[in-house]
Each structure stands twice: as structure tokens, then as C-alpha cells.
């Protein structure tokens, strides 16, 4: 018997191996085939869609973006009026989602750390309460929880009979109002904010240099204190100078107060009920997941680490700050990023409790504008947000040299 491979014409072999058994070739053929399959499928989908658009005269195109939206947006952080364009309305809605996402992440993280630490407490009642909290809130669908909080907040007194605390804090079922900064003019406010950002950059830079100096000369240089002093100092000087130039401080404190016959609260900062319910729901729901992440993170650091740090003479506070916590963070950060992403996405449930987030504005827009284009933009917006979170996670992973 002859070896069949030797008799094959050279066209059917590659590096002396028959092409149908050559690993690299099989891989490439399979890859190309799957790529063609996917492309064909996608083209088929789009072809059908194009046909449907043509055939049933379904509106299509991005020209709607410049048109007036003419629909109210219930709650908005950016200024909005109904004569604004679709594009701007989408920006307003995306800002609404971002605001809830950022505030929600901060609060959920703080609450999550607190509950997670409570769960590890040696106090029986505290740790059991934390366990019940975690097991309840992460096991019930967010939708149900949001509805529940919605009805709880409704049980607060209405605006005219609401609680007033120290003349500055108004709590009622339309929201919470508290004193807040109010810009005296756009120009001074923007200039001052820009200078504050610059001051923070200077402070961080200073901190960085001082830390290095501390390491070089081996004597304390108080990087944190000096950094803060630099930042606050620059901001304060900028404030005084700007006040001098414009004749008025860049910001003043605005106090909330009831206005008009319906007693709506004007002035200050008002967190309306819709946002409040959404935040409460999201924060409680997400914090129960973060609490478990924090617990797992702290438990992942071996006892020996703590003991070693104590043996080196570090104080308990420093042990936690420089020993346990940085190590726990390596375990905590990746799932935490994933929870941040979930919180951002879950804010799309805001519509059921009266918060107009990106998804709800987009769905309303499909009433008067082409649905296909709106959904394309919506997907792009959410993907951008989720990729931003992934990017933050990846940057952190690279910084701490997380392998894998």
C-alpha cells in the first residue's frame, strides 16, 4: 500500500499535509465560512427590512432629528422646552439616565460597603439583619420593588402638607427639596468651574510629586494635606477674584420655598419623586449585590495578611487602608463594574415610576418619528455607556496588573 498523501497532487497539499487535514487551513475555511454566514444573515435581515420600509411606507431616515419634539419630558436635569429638537431631547434624556446612573452608583456603592461590612459583623443581630436585607432585595425583581417604593413614597404627605425641616429641607410626596447653588450668571459660573477643575488637577499633581518625594527622602511630606490645601486655595482665590471682577459671587445659595397657589416648591435643588423612587429602588437593589461582592472581597484576603500588617506595627486603620483593602479591591472591582453597568441599564425601568429616562423618551418618540432609526440611536447610546464602564474596569485592571 502506498501512503495516499504522497500520491496527492501538490495543489491538494499544503506544507506536505492534505488541505482537509491541515489545521490552519481548516481553521481559516471555517472562519471564512462563518463570517460569510453571519454577513449573509445580516444582509438578509436588512434586505427584508428595506423591503418592508419600501413596501409598507414605513418612515425611515434621520431627518426627524432637527424637527421640534413638541412633547413634554417630565423630569429633566438640562433645561428643556417643548420647542426643542428631537436631537436635543435625546441629549436631555441621555443626561437623565447618566445622572441617575452616576448618583445611583455612588450611593449603591456606599450602602453596599456598609451592608457588606455589617454582614461580617460579629454582632449577631446586625449580621442577621444584613443577611435578610441582602437575601430579600436581591431575590425580588426590580420591577416589583420599584412599584413598591413608588407606593411607599406616595404615602408621604402631599406638597402643601409636607414636612419642612429647618426651613430649608422640604420633604413631600412630590420630592425632596434642599438649598442648592444658583449661578449668578453663566459666564462667571463657567469660568469659576473651569478654574476649580484646574485647581483639582494642580492638587492631584502636587499630591503625586509629594508622594514621590516622600519615598525618595524618607520623611513625611504630607501629600494629601498639601494637595487639598492647594486645591481649596486656588478655588478660593478664584472665587474672590471673580467676585471682584463681576461684582457678584459666581454662585449664591438658593433656598427652596413654596410658590403659587399650588404650593409647588421653587428654588434650591429638587429631587422629584420619580427620580427619588428610581434612585431608592436602584440603590437598594444594587447595594444588595455590592454588599455580597464586598463581603467576598474582604473574606478573600487571608487572615495572615492582617496579622502580618499588625506585626509590622501598622495601626488597625492603616492595616485596613494599606493591607486588606487594596488586596480586596482586586477581587471587588471586576464584579463591581458589572453591577455599575447593570444599574445603568436598569434605570430604563424608570418609566414605570414616572422618571423619563432615555428608553422612555425613545419609546415615546417612536410615536412621531421613525422607530428603526430611534432604536439604532438608542442601542448606540447604551453601548457607549456600557463600553465606558468596561473601559474603566479595564484601565483599573491594567493599573493593578490584574492578569488574565
Amino acid at each position: 500500500m502506498q501512503n495516499p498523501e504522497t500520491t496527492l497532487p501538490s495543489i491538494l497539499t499544503y506544507q506536505g499535509i492534505p488541505v482537509w487535514r491541515h489545521a490552519q487551513i481548516i481553521q481559516w475555511v471555517a472562519q471564512i465560512a462563518s463570517a460569510i454566514l453571519v454577513v449573509a444573515l445580516v444582509m438578509w435581515f436588512f434586505g427584508n427590512m428595506a423591503f418592508a420600509i419600501e413596501d409598507r411606507e414605513i418612515p425611515f431616515g434621520f431627518s426627524f432629528l432637527g424637527r421640534e419634539y413638541q412633547t413634554p419630558i417630565g423630569e429633566h436635569v438640562l433645561p428643556y422646552k417643548s420647542s426643542d429638537s428631537f436631537l436635543y431631547a435625546l441629549v436631555v434624556a441621555a443626561t437623565n439616565t447618566l445622572v441617575v446612573a452616576v448618583i445611583g452608583v455612588i450611593l449603591a456603592t456606599l450602602l453596599g460597603i456598609f451592608i457588606g461590612v455589617c454582614r461580617l459583623s460579629t454582632n449577631w443581630i446586625v449580621s442577621k439583619l444584613a443577611t435578610v436585607y441582602i437575601e430579600f432585595f436581591r431575590n425580588v425583581p426590580l420591577l416589583i420593588q420599584l412599584f413598591f417604593w413608588f407606593y411607599i413614597i406616595l404615602a408621604l404627605p402631599r406638597v402643601r402638607e409636607g414636612y419642612v425641616i429647618l426651613d430649608g429641607l422640604y420633604v413631600n410626596n412630590a420630592g425632596i427639596s434642599f438649598p442648592g447653588p444658583s449661578a449668578s450668571g453663566t459666564m462667571p459660573a463657567l469660568v469659576w468651574l473651569a478654574l476649580v477643575v484646574a485647581a483639582v488637577v494642580v492638587g492631584v499633581f502636587l499630591h503625586h510629586r509629594l508622594v514621590r518625594r516622600e519615598e525618595e527622602i524618607g520623611r513625611p511630606s504630607y501629600p494629601f494635606v498639601l494637595g487639598c490645601v492647594a486645591t481649596v486655595g486656588i478655588a478660593a482665590i478664584a472665587w474672590l477674584v471673580l467676585s471682584g471682577i463681576f461684582g457678584d459671587a459666581p454662585f449664591s445659595i438658593s433656598m427652596p420655598a413654596p410658590e403659587g397657589r399650588f404650593g409647588r416648591i421653587d428654588g434650591g435643588v429638587t429631587v422629584r419623586a420619580g427620580m427619588l423612587v428610581l434612585l431608592v429602588g436602584l440603590v437598594i437593589y444594587t447595594s444588595s449585590f455590592i454588599a455580597e461582592i464586598v463581603r467576598a472581597g474582604i473574606q478573600s484576603v487571608g487572615r495572615g495578611q492582617t496579622e502580618a500588617a499588625r506585626a509590622l506595627g501598622l495601626s488597625p486603620m492603616n492595616t485596613l487602608r494599606q493591607g486588606t483593602f487594596p488586596q480586596a479591591l482586586r477581587v471587588i472591582i471586576p464584579p463591581w463594574i458589572s453591577q455599575c453597568l447593570n444599574l445603568t441599564k436598569n434605570s430604563s425601568l424608570g418609566g414605570v415610576v414616572g422618571y423619563t429616562d432615555l428608553t422612555n423618551v425613545a419609546i415615546t418618540m417612536t410615536q412621531t418619528a421613525p422607530a428603526i432609526n430611534i432604536f439604532l440611536m438608542l442601542m448606540a447610546a447604551y453601548l457607549a455607556m456600557s463600553l465606558t464602564w468596561s473601559l474603566i474596569g479595564n484601565l483599573y485592571n491594567r493599573r493593578i496588573g490584574f492578569t488574565g
Binding site: 412633547t71 412630590a174 415610576v353 417612536t366
Partner: protein, 388 residues
């Protein structure tokens, strides 16, 4: 090599899963275009129709999309509707979806298939109405849809106004508001994705009211927010204000303001592109209206000629009103009225005394034909193309 096999195994797994999922899908294919012979499927209605009618009906299809044949082949009328508003479409204690809109769908099924129960109700949200009817997946959209020109152009064809509504406001009496124009600076609750929302914005802009608008995805949340005082006023179609008002704890503390800020003609919508189907739906709505005008109800449907020419023509006992051309059976009206009753019966069952108790006497939703004389304005606005 290792990677190849890993990849192939993965691909095989995916293919197997997709195949498994496809098997899990057990919806029988609903052919949109049916062979001409398939139109003679032995349903009750078709047996009653003469064979030439069937071929005539199919020859009409070259102009339309053949939806009638598709419906008969499927043996089911698919309507998009709702289950969350009393009177129009809600769920009763035994789980049945009932209401005014549902009855219109049942009437259509009775006319086309001879059986009012051969319907499938697809539940959709307010915001889904446009995309749903555009996609052509449903035969009729009856979900308290306001007829507007842009919707008529973009969504589908509006067949017939079956209910005239208008948007109003409900407020607490203790606010001392007697007109919607006094609402300046108040906050108003409204349902997301409706014309109500758009009208409210127009009203606020026109009158410089600077209203604060709170939107909610579903109506119970709107009512709860209003009742607890989160918003000062609550706006919706007046019929729904009346219906939902009965659920408030102290109905006497609330008042519906006199202003009606919009026109809201509600009625069924059919997908674009099928004139025959559009005509069928219009005719069925007309049957309901004229049956009431002629005094025919579910209890007294004649099966033999009565001598009253109009009644006999409507009932297919003498003469015709175009049933053949439309592809309906001669006696389609008998099936419809026996199954669901006339317009008045549907109204009183769902919106009238046996439903959410909206007054009809002398209102816009009374029959035009009930006017005491031809020119006096006492009659309502419910009127359809004469059936002849």
C-alpha cells in the same frame, strides 16, 4: 488543531441549539398569500357562500393584500388591543379579556368567520401601537386609538369612528380650581406615549400655563399619583376620567373640569395596503350602527324576511349591500348581531349602565339617526355610510 475542534464543537452546539429552539416553536405557519382554491376552506361562512363568490373574492385580491384569505386560512382574526382600561379592554374576574374594543374585534370575527370567539387579542402598550399596525402582524388595531391625520398617513387606515372622546382634567375640589385655565403652575399626571401627552403640551403652550408634567407608563400609577396628591391634576380622555374616577376613595372630593381640550375620535385601524379588508371592517362597523338604528338587537334577529326593506337588506334576507364584492356571506350581519349585539348593546354592556356608566343620551355618542327630526341637532355623531 485544538482550536479547530473547540471551534467546531462550539459551532455544532450552536447549530443544535438553534435547531432545538426552532422545534420548540409550534406556531403553525400563517400563510399570507394563499392559493386561490384555499379560499374555499370549509368554514361555516364559506359554505354559506356560493362558489362563484369565492373566486370573485380572490380575483379582488390582486388589488389588495389578500388579508381576508389569510384570515380565513388561519381561521382567526388577530386584533391588537389592551387589558388595562375598564370599559374598553380589561380582564374580568374569570380571566376573560372583555370590553368595548374587544367586542368590535368579536364582531369582525363573527362577520368574517361566523364565530365571535375566533379571535386572538394581542396586548400592546400605547407606544407599540404604531409599530404593531405598521408591521402588518395584526388584522385590526382597536386600542382606544385616536384618529389623527399623521397616524392615518403613517400607521394604517382608520375605518370608522366608534366613540367620540375628548381630553379633560380631573382635580381635587379643595384646590378651588373651576377651569383648566386656572391650572397655571400646577403639576399634571399623564400616561406616556399618548396623544393626551401631546395635547397637554399644546394646551400648556397656548395658554402660557407652564405646567409641570409627570408621565407614567401605566394608568394605575397615574391614578395613584393623582390620588395621593403627587400631582394637582390628572388628564386623560373624559370617558376614562369618569371610569377611573369610580376607583378613587372619595369620588365626591374630585371634579372633572368643564374644558375639553381636544378631539379624540376613537376607532379601529387596519394595516395599509389592503382595500378589501379596509372595506370589510368599515362595513362591519356600519352593521353594528345600523342594526341599532333599525331596532335589530341580539334578541330579535330575524331569520325570515320581515317586510321592512331596510332590515331585510341588512340581514341579507332581501337584496344586498355589497356582501359578495367584499367576500362576506349574505347573512354576515345576522351572525354579527346574534353574536355581539348592535352598537347600543355593546355600548351599554361596556361603557353604559352595565359597564363604566358613561351617559349616552343626547351625548355625542348617541346615534345621529335617533335625532327627533332630520335637521335638529339633538342626535349624536355616531353615523356610518349607509348599507346598500
Amino acid at each position: 488543531m485544538k482550536r479547530t475542534i473547540k471551534y467546531l464543537a462550539g459551532a455544532a452546539l450552536i447549530v443544535a441549539l438553534v435547531a432545538a429552539m426552532a422545534c420548540g416553536q409550534e406556531e403553525p405557519p400563517a400563510p399570507a398569500a394563499v392559493e386561490p382554491t384555499a379560499a374555499v376552506t370549509p368554514t361555516d361562512v364559506m359554505e354559506a357562500t356560493a362558489a362563484p363568490t369565492a373566486t370573485e373574492a380572490t380575483s379582488m385580491d390582486t388589488q389588495g393584500g389578500g388579508r381576508l384569505d389569510a384570515v380565513r386560512a388561519r381561521d382567526k382574526v388577530i386584533c391588537a388591543s389592551r387589558n388595562d382600561v375598564p370599559g374598553y379592554g380589561y380582564v374580568d374576574d374569570s380571566g376573560n379579556n372583555v370590553g368595548f374594543d374587544i367586542d368590535l374585534c368579536r364582531a369582525l370575527a363573527a362577520a368574517v368567520l361566523g364565530d365571535p370567539n375566533k379571535i386572538e387579542i394581542r396586548l400592546i402598550t400605547a407606544a407599540e401601537r404604531g409599530p404593531t399596525i405598521q408591521s402588518g402582524e395584526v388584522d385590526m388595531l382597536v386600542r382606544t386609538v385616536t384618529w389623527t391625520t399623521s397616524r392615518d398617513a403613517q400607521w394604517g387606515n382608520y375605518a370608522q369612528t366608534m366613540f367620540y372622546d375628548g381630553q379633560g382634567f380631573m382635580v381635587r375640589k379643595d384646590l378651588g380650581v373651576s377651569s383648566a385655565l386656572d391650572l397655571g403652575g400646577s403639576s399634571v399626571c399623564v400616561t406616556l406615549g399618548t396623544t393626551t401627552e401631546l395635547n397637554l403640551q399644546d394646551f400648556s403652550n397656548q395658554n402660557g400655563l407652564n405646567l409641570e408634567v409627570l408621565t407614567f407608563e401605566d394608568t394605575p400609577a397615574v391614578v395613584a399619583a393623582y390620588e395621593s396628591g403627587q400631582c394637582d391634576a390628572f388628564t386623560n380622555d373624559r370617558s376614562q376620567l369618569a371610569a377611573l374616577g369610580t376607583g378613587l376613595q372619595n369620588r365626591a372630593d374630585h371634579v372633572i373640569l368643564p374644558e375639553t381640550i381636544s378631539e379624540e375620535p376613537l376607532g379601529p385601524v387596519v394595516p395599509h395596503g389592503d382595500d378589501q379588508w379596509f372595506d370589510i371592517v368599515k362595513t362591519v362597523m356600519g352593521i353594528l350602527i345600523y342594526a341599532e338604528a333599525y331596532g335589530v338587537n341580539s334578541g330579535n334577529v330575524p331569520s325570515a324576511a320581515t317586510g321592512d326593506t331596510k332590515v331585510d337588506r341588512l340581514m341579507g334576507l332581501e337584496g344586498a349591500f355589497g356582501q359578495e364584492t367584499l367576500g362576506l356571506s349574505e347573512t354576515a350581519a345576522q351572525d354579527v348581531i346574534r353574536a355581539v349585539g348592535n352598537y347600543g348593546e355593546i355600548y351599554s354592556r361596556n361603557l353604559g349602565p352595565d359597564g363604566i356608566d358613561l351617559p349616552r343620551e343626547n351625548g355625542r355618542n348617541a346615534l345621529w339617526a335617533n335625532a327627533p327630526c332630520q335637521d335638529c341637532p339633538k342626535g349624536g355623531q355616531i353615523y356610518a355610510a349607509p348599507l346598500r
